[in-house]
């Protein structure tokens, strides 16, 4: 039985849900009543533990899936629709970084990041939108990053993938609006996750000084914005990239 709440009766799919922001989104949506399927690639143990810990709050299913593989994605979405009968919310959170100076980035650094972050988002949007179009309703929320708009030192591949996600988000929003599907992105600054750990330990203090609100984000703070965009209340918002960064992208200093 799902918990009563904002997402009661809704079916959600969260990619990259075993860790980081994706995990916080899974916890939030399940906690507010959604049946949640989430994908993971390498963190089988974390995924199992997460699913087990949430059995009380709702129906949570962990699905192993490499978001670079179109066939695996189609199969995952088909299986979800077969089981749940519908798909209301897609959150594309699966992402990786392979930071390095542009001139030293390998072909692999480039393609792995683009294929995972952008390719995964594109494949999942496509598979989900087809089902949502038949339902004539749906919410898609893509995880972006402020570097997608600002650029980032040593992040040419990551920034390119996130900038492209912003453009993809806006284009899909145009195309799918007539089907009652909204498509938005959430663009975080520096968040306390495994992914950003290296960067935070290398120059965390320097970055923190530039954040007007004074601290890094917790994954839950990003999940709150994702949940809002995925909710019925956000029905009139589409094609937007919502920045959740403690103000770091502002010119002002603390």
């Amino acid at each position: 039985m799902s918990a009563p709440g904002r997402f009661s009766g809704k079916v959600a799919l969260v990619t990259g849900g075993s860790r980081g922001i994706g995990r916080a989104v899974v916890v939030r949506l399940a906690g507010e009543g959604a049946a949640v399927h989430f994908t993971y690639r390498s963190s089988a143990e974390e995924a199992r533990a997460l699913a087990a810990s949430l059995t009380k709050s709702g129906r949570v299913t962990a699905v192993e899936c490499d978001v670079r593989k179109k066939d695996a994605i189609d199969a995952a979405v088909d299986a979800l629709v077969e089981k749940e009968g519908r798909l209301d919310i897609l959150v594309n959170s699966a992402g990786i970084i392979r930071d390095g100076l542009f001139l030293s980035l390998s072909e692999e650094d480039w393609s792995e990041v683009l294929d995972t972050n952008l390719g995964g988002t594109w494949h999942f949007c496509k598979a989900a939108a087809r089902q949502m179009m038949a339902q004539r309703s749906g919410r898609i929320v893509n995880l972006s990053s402020i570097v997608g708009g600002l650029g980032g030192y040593g992040q040419a591949n990551y920034a390119a993938s996130k900038g492209a996600i912003n453009a993809l988000t806006k284009s899909l929003a145009c195309e799918l609006a007539s089907r009652g599907i909204t498509v938005n992105a959430v663009s975080p600054g520096m968040v306390r996750t495994d992914m950003s750990e290296a960067a935070r330990s290398a120059f965390g203090d320097k970055i923190r000084e530039k954040i007007p609100l004074g601290s890094f984000a917790e994954p839950e703070e990003i999940a709150a914005a994702v949940a809002f965009l995925a909710s019925d209340e956000a029905r009139y918002i589409t094609g937007q990239v919502i920045t959740v960064d403690g103000g770091i992208s502002l010119l002002g200093r603390r």
Partner: protein, 132 residues
């Protein structure tokens, strides 16, 4: 019309009604999807997906609605379908009413040829071919 065909027409009308949000009673075999029923480009995709589901078939891209052809420079020039393009379209849609279109082959008029009847004809053939 055979009972089988009548059933097919009924199912197609129901699919179109769902995709375009129009009343089934407003849908005739001769209705143009664009001109009479207000279809836009994404509606054609919606119709294809719904047909695939309803009839449990696969409709390869461009087989029912040859929309790719319209962005092909060999077949379309200055907003008009070239003679080569018309030949190609006739091959795909032999039953469409080509007379009036050939006289003024504006791409924008092409939608008139996409009718409910065209979908029924396409499915009749497709489903017959799928019979064991």
């Amino acid at each position: 019309m055979s009972n089988e065909k009548l059933e097919l027409v009924k199912q197609v009308k129901s699919v179109i009604a769902q995709a375009l949000r129009v009343e089934e009673s407003k849908i005739e075999l001769g209705s143009s999807l664009i001109k009479d029923l207000g279809a836009e480009s994404i509606d054609f995709l919606d119709i294809v997906f719904r047909l695939e589901k309803t009839f449990k078939i696969k409709i390869p891209k461009g087989e029912l609605f040859p929309e790719k052809l319209l962005t092909d420079a060999r077949f379309v020039k200055d907003g008009r379908v070239t003679p080569a393009g018309i030949e190609e379209l006739k091959k795909r849609m032999p039953d469409a009413p080509w007379g009036p279109f050939s006289e003024n082959p504006l791409v924008s008029n092409l939608g008139d040829l996409f009718t409910v009847g065209m979908i029924v004809d396409y499915l009749s053939e497709k489903l017959a071919a799928a019979q064991p």
